[in-house]
Symmetry: C2
Subunit: 321 residues, 2 copies
């Protein structure tokens, strides 16, 4: 008996919901400190209490309130994003040197952005540190497919066996994280070139922006580093319809090979748990938008649709301001 689509969503959207059990939710939140920034009166992410305890929080930048369970970056309310980012970077570099956290051993030298209400850029931080703060991260995922007399087939890459995270698992045709300062489609064009060797003009001519999926991931061992860290995520979604003679090819060392999967082969690989968790859900979204999963053939239809479009309690990005 393979995994159901609901099983696959449950593996990805793992943080509890208030409405399922208010008492459990409220108790569960006590495992975390709220990450806040002076001058911005909202919670930006949840930090595990065990992480708060291990961190050395330089007193010139941070205030820890163990009663309210908050960790506040105390840069002035009118600080610039650069000033806030600098304070965070100093703190993180020290922790990386101390070797406190496994996740920081995967230091990427790439910054992810954190946003204030209204989607305003607040600060950025080293990508590998974002799960320590439980802030929302952003990425792009695209499905390259061929639809002709042979039916609908998907270009499915297998991740390199030496990749730090989810080695050897199946992936979406194009997928990657959005660095601070990047726009979603710009990021998608870059990733399509880097990971699938697809030229910019081909991508621009054949890609449709079709939505986003959002989920509240809780990291397990397959993600690498500490477990139970929080990773609320937004993935902007793209459909890329290719002619049969346009063949994605590995370009960097992250992908091993691309294969063309029929719908049935894709369903089987999903049921086998062969896909990286968020890539599985990108397929569920594709299946729903393309009428492959319907209310009549999928018992958990509505739960799938709502769980993969979770509304966060944190502010999120806006790229149209």
């Amino acid at each position: 008996m393979g995994k159901s689509y609901l099983d696959l969503i449950n593996e990805l959207d793992k943080f509890p919901y208030y409405e399922n059990n208010p008492a459990f939710y409220t108790t569960h939140l006590k495992n975390f400190h709220a990450f806040k920034v002076n001058g911005c009166d909202v919670v930006l992410g949840y930090i595990l209490n065990s992480v708060v305890a291990k961190f050395q929080w330089p007193a010139e930048h941070w205030a820890i309130d163990s009663t309210d369970q908050t960790v506040t970056l105390t840069t002035p309310a009118d600080a610039t994003p650069e000033q806030r980012s600098q304070a965070v970077a100093e703190t993180l570099e020290k922790e990386a040197k101390r070797g406190t956290f496994e996740v920081l051993k995967g230091w990427r030298n790439e910054n992810y952005a954190v946003y204030a209400p209204g989607g305003k850029f607040l600060l950025d931080m080293e990508r590998s540190a974002t799960p320590l703060f439980g802030v929302v991260s952003y990425g792009v995922h695209g499905t390259c497919y061929v639809e002709d007399e042979n039916g609908l087939r998907f270009w499915v890459p297998r991740r390199s066996k030496t990749k730090q995270t989810y080695p050897g698992m199946l992936d979406n045709s194009v997928a990657g994280g959005m660095s601070a300062g990047e726009q979603p489609f710009e990021c998608f064009v870059r990733e399509a070139s880097e990971e699938a060797s697809l030229p910019e003009d081909v991508v621009k001519a054949n890609t449709k922006t079709v939505g986003c999926i959002t989920y509240f991931y809780v990291r397990d061992s397959r993600a690498g580093g500490e477990t139970d860290l929080l990773q609320p995520e937004v993935e902007y979604i793209y459909d890329v319809k290719l002619s049969a003679d346009t063949i994605p090819k590995p370009c960097d060392t992250e992908v091993e090979e691309f294969n063309l999967y029929t719908i049935e082969e894709t369903k089987q690989a999903l049921a086998n748990g062969e896909f990286k968790p968020n890539c599985a859900v990108v397929f569920i979204d594709f299946f729903i938008r393309h009428g492959i999963l319907t209310p009549e053939n999928e018992p958990d239809y509505m739960e799938l649709v709502t769980r993969m479009h979770r509304r966060f309690e944190f502010p999120t990005a806006s790229f149209a301001n």
Copy 2:
């Protein structure tokens, strides 16, 4: 300055969110009694306290707990759906005769289904009464469109000026409520014939099931009857691509006329508030799935996507069991 897409969602998905303001949410819930059914330990809907007070609840079928704020149908735990439905029907028919509630003056002689966890059919009740109990209701909405050398255009009907609800407003090409016992696509085919004169074979050949939208509506005066009644709703969504020579036509008296709207004309009518609120959101969903609204051109992109896929605290239907 016209309405933004976020304004249009705000008009439809109006019930507060816990995560926006836990204290406000908790206080707000005190305005309602929870609707429950003996033998099924979940909340099925919220009934306004003022509605609870006006109802005559026959003691043989109902238990009102004013401390816990619950209204419980006390049919035996092993009652059949028919027995539960019969008890509800008796209660509602008496209220309709007494003329207690404005909404029951629009008695439809059509039953809507209420579901237990797992999507199991629990009972049905007269359609016009569902907002009194705040139970989830289900419908189908479809967008008929033409896409050719003249671009993308939508078939937009105008509701009859004599219609009970939202008279004279613009609508989706095909839209209607799902009666108890109906399957979504079956309902869609029926509505397409009844409301747009589209033959079954044309609908089946040209329609793609593309998802559902869900939102927690709070009724205002345009809905008719008492205001502030709750109406959490699920609308299964269909795209119907038609050739330019297939022309939807009014068939019953509910629709006045169909006109072909360009994307720009549709956007203008949305900004003018000319569309029935849930029909406006069906267009937002279409615009997002078809790349007309993108993260780069719509500042509230993520809020739109997540708000129109709200996860309810109530059990919902499953049609694939």
